[in-house]
Amino acid sequence: MRDRSSEPIVAARGLTKRYGDALAVDALDLDVPAGAFFGLLGPNGSGKTTAIHMLSTLIRPSAGEARIAGHDVRREPVAVRRAIGVVFQEPALDRSLSVEENLRLAGRLYGLSGAEIRRRAEELLALFGLGARRRQSAATLSGGLRRALDIARGVIHRPRVLFLDEPTIGLDVPNRRAIWRYIAGLRAETGVTVVLTTHYLEEADDCDLVAFIRGGRVVASGAPRVLVDNLAPRILEVEGADLEPLAQRLAPKFGPALNDGQRLSFCFHGSAADFGALQSELAGAVEALRLRRPNLNDVFLWVNAAQPSEAPAHAAVH
């Protein structure tokens, strides 16, 4: 369900948030096409949440502008809020109300009629596996189900854009998988544009587009597959005791390495034969030698390495 117009449904230009002297978000530019599954990625403290808060009108930008579904976040906050759903890092639920009552409250806040709310709540309860718990109070739900209810609450009014701020934070693996399944179901059903933040980069593999943000700025963006393919065909990992001399020894052949203290990683452009030769050469000198497909984590680490900052790159990613 792409938008008829070619205008991105979320567009930010020079979006900036300053707290005193600190720049939480620094001249952020974003374009999210309608219907896209967009990931805003970066370590804790990189400005992702602040960016989402500005885009969703919770806080006002210090400078720059952003338009959601054609509405300016600063001048038309109410119109923006009508077009979006937001799921924060912590639930926006009334713990004293039941699952159904929470959805009804949310639906009424968006001006939906009782009949619309009932219809939509039925769909969402089925989609998110909450049907059997409709009368249970929100306080008694497990963490995973409460997150599911919070997402259902965020989409009861069929928003055009859904902002998810770290939707799987604090959840265990099965619940994280369930949440992603719900979001995939929701996208398939409604074609809603999803803008999510996460610092679990492996969760962003399914995104159509991602933007890496660090220090409040976009440092790399594109389709995950393209970013990964552009990095290198393979990542070479070398584990051993004395890594620094090894890095210098291998640099002429394989280029610069990332050293995270336990292993060296190289962008490997060589052939299987090159790897075989390396295995014989290093046999006994290293603890492990590994060739693997690169992923978004690697992209992020190499982007960081290319743009050195005060923060050590390996500490940044989960």
């Binding site: 992702k48 109410v78 109300l97 409250l105 701020d165």
Partner: protein
């Protein structure tokens, strides 16, 4: 605009009904004042006698229920501010000032509901005199509840956190209650206290209730005219609501909420 307001009011009523202790407190507390303290002080209170003082206390305890009910509901906004529901409200497609209006109406509604429960109990116990003026009583209940809710919303809009229930009781609700004409005629107070009581908008709510629920005994009637009571209550409610609406429209009012939501990531 009406559905969101209705939603907030319905939530407040549901919460009240789900907290039987709160509902019970709404008429047990005033009845304790009326039956125990009223009888005790009535014995000391020469001009009216025991029954006369108790009758004098009736508007005071009805006001008490409105005050506690409205303030606790309105001050619940401070708690909501940091927790779930305010997040829903700030993301709803309404100007943030409407949150204040909705909460004000909701707090007023639950306060009046609690007062009606108490009035039923008072009727059963025979404390509602024949001179009760229904229309004036309804007006007094509504105007007083609105004013109490407005005090609560004003505090809620400006305070960052309210440490706990005890702080609210001791520093807000009790002073408002004691510095009014609830327990004693304002005219009889020493000059300093009288001045404080006359600055307290709640005093005029109790006075209006006193017009609607006449005590009968001489010297224990209302202190002010109905017109003055209504004017003060309406002006105060309007001004306090406007100020609270203004504050809620500012980003600073939502700083605790934003801070909490940015805690884990940022």
């Amino acid at each position: 605009m009406l559905r969101p307001v209705y939603a907030v009011m319905e939530r407040e009523v549901l919460r009240l009904l789900r907290q039987p202790a709160r509902l019970a407190a709404a008429f047990v507390r005033p009845l304790v004042w009326l039956l125990v303290i009223g009888a005790g002080f009535g014995a000391l209170y020469e001009p009216a006698g025991r029954a006369g003082y108790q009758q004098f206390l009736v508007p005071g305890v009805v006001g008490m229920t409105l005050l506690f009910g409205a303030m606790l509901a309105a001050l619940g906004t401070v708690h909501d501010k940091e927790f779930g529901v305010m997040r829903m409200l700030v993301m709803a497609p309404l100007p943030h000032a409407w949150i204040v209006i909705a909460k004000l109406l909701a707090a007023t509604l639950v306060a009046v509901l609690q007062a009606l429960v108490l009035l039923a109990a008072l009727t059963a116990l025979g404390y509602l005199a024949a001179g009760t003026a229904p229309l004036l009583l309804a007006t007094a209940l509504a105007a007083t509840a609105f004013a109490c809710s407005a005090i609560g919303m004003l505090i809620a809009a400006f305070s960052r956190t309210l440490e706990n229930f005890a702080a609210v009781m001791n520093f807000v609700i009790f002073p408002v209650f004691f510095l009014s004409g609830s327990l004693y005629p304002v005219q009889a107070l020493p000059a300093g206290l009288r001045a404080a009581a006359m600055l307290n908008p709640y005093t005029y709510g109790v006075d209006l209730l006193r017009h609607a629920l006449p005590a009968g005994a001489a010297g224990l009637g209302p202190d002010f005219s109905i017109g003055r009571d209504l004017a003060v209550l309406l002006l105060f409610t309007g001004a306090a609501t406007a100020l609270a609406c203004w504050r809620f429209s500012r980003e600073a009012a939502h700083a605790p909420l934003v801070r909490r939501l940015a805690r884990k990531g940022s």
